[in-house]
């Protein structure tokens, strides 16, 4: 929960805070704070979030300005014009790395955020009302579960490859965002539904109901803040998953649209030059991708342990 997006999500969801909720979160925070690997992971992920938000801080070179006469310059480190060298087309690797962070991270936060909201709403509705609502949501969920995530992404992104969404930063990631969200909401819905089922029969919910609280109030003020625990542990892990998936899609040529650069595109372009004497073209983007994914996975793993009541 030290991750800013998760923290913001939690703050938004647990408002107004019930006393029991606050103690769970502060307890979790205290447990997370004591783990050195969590601190390191948070620093790394925060660093890449800053890179994505303010690329100008780290490189003043334009990633699109490429000079073919300066093709494949090896890294010159600090002081040189190209600290991390240049690629086949003479583009500055550092500038591409820095600007490549934004599409990946923006896509990840967008997809996970929207899927989480869909999952919270549908999961709460189906767990709370059961009956017909639950039957419909469960059937739809099953249909989406049967088609594997990556298969669907591959299918849809190739089908709609030629559909134009206009220019701009958001348009470059809009299509993968829609597809990844459409096939990414099921996990959250199932988790939320299961914990709503558990929570809704507790005494305090019955008490609120007998005091005349409306269904909407019961769901979103009383049940959801208590049922949200297991789902939050999914968030950092899913962010890591989306970043990895984006890299796969970019590698297949159907992810973030050119001219936007992303780490996946850089990896697939650089891989063949590794043994050709230019390992930096693969190692730099690969290092950034792995560091980001690893730090989010570590945060998610520890968050799950910290939120698990049986391990207390």
């Amino acid at each position: 929960m030290t991750d800013p997006s998760t923290a913001a999500g939690i703050a938004a969801q647990s408002d107004p805070p019930a006393p029991a909720t606050r103690s769970l979160w502060s307890d979790t925070f205290r447990r997370m704070r004591r783990r050195p690997d969590v601190i390191i992971a948070c620093v790394i992920s925060l660093f890449f979030v800053v890179v994505a938000a303010f690329p100008g801080l780290f490189s003043s070179t334009d990633p699109q300005r490429c000079d073919i006469s300066e093709s494949r310059v090896p890294p010159q480190w600090f002081g040189g014009e190209h600290p991390f060298g240049t690629n086949l087309h003479g583009c500055d690797v550092l500038a591409q790395l820095v600007h490549g962070a934004r599409p990946s991270l923006l896509l990840a936060f967008l997809v996970v955020g929207v899927s989480l909201v869909i999952g919270l709403v549908l999961g709460t509705l189906s767990g709370f009302y059961l009956g017909a609502v639950d039957a419909v949501i469960s059937r739809v969920l099953e249909i989406f579960m049967v088609i594997p995530f990556l298969l669907a992404a591959l299918l849809l992104l190739s089908l709609f490859r030629n559909v134009d969404f206009g220019g701009g930063e958001l348009a470059a990631i809009l299509q993968p965002a829609i597809v990844l969200t459409a096939f990414g909401w099921m996990g959250y819905t199932r988790y939320v539904r299961a914990s709503v089922l558990e929570t809704k029969n507790l005494d305090y919910v019955a008490a609120a109901r007998s005091l005349g609280a409306s269904d909407l109030r019961l769901m979103f003020v009383h049940i959801l803040p208590n049922a949200i625990g297991p789902v939050t542990a999914l968030v950092p892990t899913s962010i890591a998953g989306v970043i990895a998936t984006e890299a796969v899609l970019a590698f297949l040529g159907i992810g973030v649209r050119p001219p936007a650069v992303s780490w996946g595109i850089m990896i697939s372009d650089g891989a063949e030059w590794f043994t050709g004497g230019f390992p930096h073209l693969l190692l730099f983007p690969l290092g950034c991708l792995l560091a980001t994914i690893l730090s989010f996975v570590v945060i998610g793993d520890n968050l799950r342990d910290a939120l698990d009541p049986t391990l207390r």
């Binding site: 059937r139 049967v146 299918l155 089908l159 890299a247 990896i267 991708l289 792995l290 994914i293």
Partner: protein
């Protein structure tokens, strides 16, 4: 139990129809937005009106609804469902039967699956059990660290690194040392060869299986840990049973139920991983066929193959559910 099977079977058929309807709607929308895929048949040439009409007729794209954006095109859908019931899955743009394509491609995918499943089952069970046995000590920490590391490595990166950095030098060295057609040289070939379908599929399968083993071993560890503190294990120990016996019969056996349910999900995941693996290692399998069909917008092949894959997935999930009910006597569906 009988009632449960029937209900579950009906649900399976329902989701299958749902999947096909969803796919149909998406493909229809894509055709309406992108233009007619029958034009792809002609390449650069501009066909005459009657030629185009003939090709459209042949691929079942003649219905005018494909030109109206937003029209769900239910007529062709019902017709296609009828064809599927009679076993007719259509043909690709060159007139080859989809069932024929699948019959050639499926064995390679199955080979990959056998190796993937063996890998993640063995690696996951073994490492998960060791981690649970030594909870909180060095083996546990190192196994969990490795599993997180594997999680962070996307499958395609693993394959990419393997293909571009490992295969060529190792394969050359092995060829020079043991001969070009020896097993070690074949194992590390950078791409699939139909003459040696098993040897060239082993290493990609191992990598894909390792990627699936990471979440699986954590599941194994968690479900075994629950059993280490359970009453029946304490009873078994207190009546003097040996450590190995308790681990094998009281802990591992009792913790295998959640593990079996994971099979269904791992299967669906492996299917997606197979698309990338087959694409990258040039394996002629279901994933590769699908990938090419999507690229060439061969509607009937895409829908046919995905339908077959969906049927397989639904059957696997159905069997897993039944196994779950059979294995766990506490679960009764009535």
């Amino acid at each position: 139990m009988g009632g449960y099977i029937v209900r579950r079977l009906l649900q399976g058929v329902g989701s299958l129809i749902g999947v096909m309807l969803l796919l149909h709607l998406l493909m229809t929308l894509a055709i309406q937005l992108n233009g007619n895929p029958a034009l792809a048949f002609f390449g650069d040439r501009v066909p005459s009106k009657s030629q185009l009409a003939a090709v459209e007729e042949r691929f079942g794209l003649a219905d005018p609804c494909y030109d109206q954006v937003g029209n769900p095109c239910l007529g062709p859908f019902v017709q296609r469902m009828g064809d599927y019931l009679t076993g007719d899955f259509g043909t690709n743009h060159r007139g080859r039967e989809v069932t024929d394509i699948v019959a050639t491609a499926a064995p390679n995918t199955l080979r990959l699956f056998v190796i993937v499943t063996l890998t993640w089952l063995l690696a996951g069970m073994l490492l998960g059990s060791v981690a649970a046995r030594f909870r909180g000590r060095a083996p546990d920490h190192s196994i969990r660290f490795v599993s997180i590391l594997i999680d962070a490595f996307p499958v395609f990166v693993m394959l990419l690194v393997y293909k571009f950095i490992v295969t060529v030098p190792v394969s050359n060295w092995m060829s020079a040392r043991f001969g070009g057609d020896s097993l070690p040289a074949l194992l590390f070939k950078p791409s699939f060869s139909p003459d040696h379908p098993w040897a060239t599929v082993i290493v990609p399968g191992l990598l894909l299986g390792l990627a699936g083993a990471a979440p699986f071993l954590r599941l194994v560890r968690a479900s075994q840990l629950e059993n280490y503190n359970a009453d029946h294990v304490r009873t078994a120990r207190s009546k003097g049973l040996g450590d190995a016996h308790v681990t094998a019969f009281h802990i591992v056996r009792n913790s295998s139920i959640p593990v079996i349910t994971a099979v269904g999900f791992v299967f669906a995941e492996a299917l997606a991983g197979a698309v990338i693996t087959e694409g990258m290692m040039n394996i002629y399998g279901m994933g590769g066929v699908l990938f090419n069909a999507v690229r060439d917008s061969e509607v009937s092949v895409v829908i046919g193959v995905v339908t077959i894959l969906a049927v397989v997935t639904i059957v696997v999930m159905f069997v897993v559910d039944l196994l779950y009910a059979v294995l766990d006597p506490r679960i009764r569906y009535d």
